[in-house]
Symmetry: C2
Subunit: 502 residues, 2 copies
Amino acid sequence: MNGKLDDKPAIKPEETLDPEDWDELRALGHRMVDDMLAYLESLRERPVWQPLPDAVTEALQTPIPRQPQGAQAAYEDFQQYVLPYPTGNIHPRFWGWVMGTGTPFAALTEMLAATVNSNMAGGHHAPNRVEAQVVAWLRSLLGFPDDASGLLVSGASMANLIALTVARNAKAPFDVREHGLPGGKHRMTLYASKETHSSVQKAAEVLGLGKTALRLVDVGEDFAIDMDKLELTIKTDIAMGYQPFCVVGNAGTVNTGAVDDLQALADLCRRYDLWLHIDGAFGALAALAPRDRHQIAGIEQADSLGFDLHKWLYMPFEAGCVLVRHRDEHRRTFALTPDYLAHGERGIAGRFDWFSDYDVQLSRGFRALKVWMSIKAEGIDRFGRLIQQNIDQARYLGRLVEQTPQLELLAPVTLNVVCFRFNPGGISEFSLNRLNEKLLYDLQEQGIAAPSSTLINGEFALRCAITNHRSRRSDFDFLVQQVLIRGGRLAQTITQEWAAVK
Amino acid sequence: MNGKLDDKPAIKPEETLDPEDWDELRALGHRMVDDMLAYLESLRERPVWQPLPDAVTEALQTPIPRQPQGAQAAYEDFQQYVLPYPTGNIHPRFWGWVMGTGTPFAALTEMLAATVNSNMAGGHHAPNRVEAQVVAWLRSLLGFPDDASGLLVSGASMANLIALTVARNAKAPFDVREHGLPGGKHRMTLYASKETHSSVQKAAEVLGLGKTALRLVDVGEDFAIDMDKLELTIKTDIAMGYQPFCVVGNAGTVNTGAVDDLQALADLCRRYDLWLHIDGAFGALAALAPRDRHQIAGIEQADSLGFDLHKWLYMPFEAGCVLVRHRDEHRRTFALTPDYLAHGERGIAGRFDWFSDYDVQLSRGFRALKVWMSIKAEGIDRFGRLIQQNIDQARYLGRLVEQTPQLELLAPVTLNVVCFRFNPGGISEFSLNRLNEKLLYDLQEQGIAAPSSTLINGEFALRCAITNHRSRRSDFDFLVQQVLIRGGRLAQTITQEWAAVK
């Protein structure tokens, strides 16, 4: 027996997904590089966004192709149906929601990551060490201790979910992991301001705590949590027999960029033995901004911290990070090692800590590479300057708004978020909301600029969250100019409509 | 006021992360394409895996670089420290755990996805429609109805978590989302075989149900769930006052690739009004295998199904999928639309369904592109042939093992998993386990082949899970040959050690 079966010759030769002609794929790869860089280089000449033509919508509804059309034709479909119709967050004048821009270099590194295609669940290989290094770098930037645990995740929503799972399990007076939540009079409660991101509510719901376990506390005029009301709410809950276990602080709220008093939150959490989680989705990286890092002072005292690298580190999706001060609690929440995952002493599964022991995910992609290579290529100080530049741009836009009579600033500019509206005077609140909504659609649909919107005390706001390394001050000049022109036109229409009704 | 501030000239010109010299980056991009394709083309000549030299480990522990080293130098660091030391799942003789291989074409498409860098949370743009199309394709392949919901996720762990959250909320006799789990006598329980993947337990723990709420039921000799014992367990729980809500069926268990009787599970779930979730992490895609799709018959009756595309569709990490038959229940579990996410009627946020209303994640990356372009390029039938090829290879290896006197097959070969050990006779059970563990390390550390391991009824098994489009039958011949040679050597050492002790 030499390890061969007699029936071998009868079996057909094996197929593979490697190309028959490597040179042909190489040429296609070069073409893709050229096209993508040309596309990014010429972004300014294109609209920020444009709607899908019906023909494209239809082409994206055809049934699954059974037969091959080849790599080249698949690429041409991408060029025809996808490339002209992105979300738009790569464009210099996109400031909607909070989305990073991506970079040309990071886009190239994604090809490298997918080539190596390592599984970051754990084990003994270099990609794992790259993620460990990136986490160590981020830990040092955010002032977390060297023995804190951390990992890259899909984004701040997952970071919040993971951190709150650890908080729940660490603070419960019973073994939640083994026996589940007991409910009833042992109900666990957590606290955050009304301006807190919806992902915190989603996490509370997924974790089985329920929406009502999340006590949403009022904010002051600065949109930061009202510390007195927070403490009163906690005291009342304790008196009622609830089990407060966690406060979620905001380093940059989604609506206005407000920062809670993180020092005060840390003090309060110590006094009441509560877990302090900070949602710093974008705001945490203000830690890099030379002139504004003081605004998030206290962040280093959190028990856990979630933030994104695909927002204010300008990385392409997806890359978020969660840091946990208490490594043991983190591990105790997620480690689970069945026979087929035995880590072993030697071989591929051996030597290093497994990330999957700290994660909901088991298989994990090589998100770390783009971060690692980008920080090496640019140096972290450059990211700090860019983050500062975005904050300065937000202040610049804020001042433009304040100095322009027909514009109204709806919230203070703390970090990088500017909420404002067009208000030429003599228009009712209701019509102002309609007017600004139409103005938002107009700006987006004409491909001029992409703010998103929110409601600030019931007022419809054009909202710019600036996490864009391509924006220039002149882009904000242009925005203001267009808001005035287009807002003025829309106001006329509305006044005429109103006159017609009368 | 023309939208410009007077102090503008005093401000320094803006920085950006776009390259100063686009041609230089273009040249680097070409070099990367050439290097990556050459690397993949020559995989066979390299070891499956090799350990990290100390110098590399040290280089991956340096502090964060403050100053730029430039794109080229960052790439050279990648070449020196990362590229030679991957997990190894790209290699033709890697069959450890269950990991896909990736393809050269899909690696290129990742660069395109990161260039477009769209946010798949939702809204009106082509990338969203690409994901919708991919999900529709997968739905049709798996026999799910057209109105079933679905989305791409980071992997099967997240797919299981999402599906079980929907199951919990849909089947609870109270509003879990609002009020949380009540615990106590209303305790909700779910059911799965002892061979079920650990991610199901992890999901039960995260969801606040607790490990003990997951009733693990015995399997038969085929490693599929024992239907009689399952029904008895459910009946007993009902009699005790528990609230059974879900059964998790396996389409391909991680240890042996066993498939539960999915038809019988569907019948039972209907009778007891339970949610049937199927974990088909790799096995679901046996639906594409022309001669083996019958093995997972019944999968189309599940209430929800989770599976990976980065396993048996050979996609690079990350790409999993969850399908849910009941779109409304799915949406009711995750939809949450605060002011700053208002979907609107027009503009970027308008027109189409938002994926984030069905997901834990809000920001979501463009995972769909690699799947979309790969299926277009190759045609889905080709993936079906390759999946069939892997099953046939598993049977080939199984027969090799059975026909070789010194090898022992430890579990039936159902799909693509082969568990076996080297057993030359005359060695105790304890020593056999030690021997095969050493043999596993030897195969991995010498770069020969990468099975992983598991315990089958306490016996240490070399475990090959074949989801590799690069493997050839000759690779399995080589594996068996090397197991015999190296196992023989190790057996001698062990016998000598034993003699020395005596």
